[in-house]
């Protein structure tokens, strides 16, 4: 390929500023002095002008209503979350949104059923003596919490789940406010050690008093 041909093939890039150095200087000189080069550049200018005028005559939103209809008719995937991960709902809200609590649902339902049975039994066996039944002790078959724990605000659901598993405890009540929960452990002492060792736990302690009567 001769030099003139090589430079002519670079002319479109030169006109858009994509050619620098020696080639740019030589093309510039040819455009200054050579009518044939000037005609080539003018043709490219006319081409861009013609296509630009053609586009300018088109409405920019032609077909937009068709696109809207197609989008409405197509099930689209859910958009990505627009909030950064640090602004996601805290774990204790997600815990009750269905991530962890369903595991405790059977226990909770069994507890409620036991309360109903106990109350029914008490009503059926009310002593004749006036209001003496009011003093009957309330016996609830619900599992009693023997530990109370407060989780860190930054703790993730995975961290909470892990420490509960390690300590062999389960949540039996809560949230009690300030991210506190009532736990039940078979071995409260060992569980307490595990809980206090976890960075997900701010504080943990034994619950000594029974439920108020």
């Amino acid at each position: 390929m001769d030099e003139r041909q090589r430079l002519l093939e670079r002319l479109p890039d030169y006109l858009d500023g994509h050619v620098t150095g020696d080639d740019a200087r030589r093309i510039e000189a040819l455009l200054d002095s050579d009518p044939d080069w000037q005609a080539q550049a003018a043709l490219l200018g006319d081409l861009r002008e013609a296509v630009g005028a053609h586009m300018a005559a088109m409405p920019g939103d032609a077909g937009l209503d068709v696109l809207h209809r197609r989008i409405a008719a197509t099930p689209t995937p859910l958009p990505a979350p627009s909030v950064p991960p640090t602004r996601r709902a805290p774990w204790w809200q997600r815990l009750f949104a269905g991530g962890f609590m369903p595991r405790f649902a059977p226990a909770a339902m069994a507890t409620l059923a036991a309360v109903c049975v106990a109350q029914g039994w008490m009503l059926a066996h009310v002593p004749d003596a006036g209001v003496a039944w009011r003093d009957a002790p309330l016996v609830v078959a619900a599992p009693e919490g023997n530990l109370e724990v407060r989780f860190a605000a930054a703790a993730t659901l995975e961290q909470v789940e892990a420490v509960l598993t390690r300590a062999h405890v389960r949540i039996v009540g809560g949230p009690l406010g300030s991210r506190r929960y009532l736990l039940q452990a078979d071995d409260p002492g060992a569980a307490l050690t595990q809980l206090r060792a976890s960075p997900a736990v701010v504080e943990a302690g034994l619950v000594t008093a029974g439920p108020p009567r």
């Binding site: 994509h18 081409l47 068709v66 989008i71 990505a80």
Partner: protein, 206 residues
């Protein structure tokens, strides 16, 4: 901030969050380029180029809406969008069982009809405006009539956006040298067609 002033990357990010106004803004800013390029690719392949180009525009922006974050910024947005446009256009051609044709018979009657249109369109204008409009019409008609579809595509891409030869090569999926050759020979053919057009124009008035 108005969506009209946002860069494509920002509009795509807004679309990822489900903002359909961002899609509308992107469409209004870019659909014409997509349509012109698709139309240039579809010409002379035996299909209704204008109607299929309209379908391609909707296909392209529907795809962008469904997965706006597919654009990763490694190439200019125009290069990415026009590559997607080319792929969709080729899909349409294949779907209709057509192939791009390299040669087509010269249709003298159609040529005369288009020339007459150009003269009629510009007749009421002052002399200089009329000449400019006629020249634009001639260039556009000759571009659309280029018999080599790849030359037509390369020249259209160059005219649409200030794309480098390298970007055009990416869109057409060919080596850079091939695009240089297409642009060079496309210019020669365009020039011959325009000269013939003006000869006919002169004889039309004569």
């Amino acid at each position: 901030m108005s969506t009209q002033t946002l860069a494509p990357g920002e509009l795509l990010a807004a679309m990822a969050g489900g903002d359909q106004r961002a899609l509308d803004a992107l469409y209004r800013g870019w659909s014409r380029k997509v349509r012109v390029f698709a139309h240039a690719t579809l010409l002379h392949c035996g299909l209704d180029a204008a109607a299929i180009a309209d379908e391609v525009v909707v296909d392209v922006f529907h795809d962008v809406w469904q997965d706006p974050l597919r654009y990763d910024g490694r190439v200019a947005f125009a290069t990415w969008l026009l590559t997607l446009t080319r792929n969709k256009t080729v899909d349409q051609i294949r779907r209709h069982g057509k192939r791009q044709v390299l040669e087509e018979p010269y249709d003298e009657d159609a040529e005369r009809a288009l020339d007459a249109d150009a003269r009629t369109d510009t007749a009421p204008d002052p002399q200089t405006l009329r000449e400019q409009a006629q020249r634009r019409a001639a260039v556009l008609r000759c571009l659309q009539r280029l018999r080599n579809p790849f030359q037509r595509e390369s020249l259209t891409l160059w005219a649409l956006e200030e794309l480098s030869v390298l970007d055009i090569a990416r869109i057409q999926d060919v080596p850079e040298g091939t695009v240089k050759t297409r642009l060079f020979h496309g210019r020669l053919n365009l020039r011959q067609c325009i000269e013939r057009w003006f000869v006919q124009e002169g004889s039309g008035h004569g």
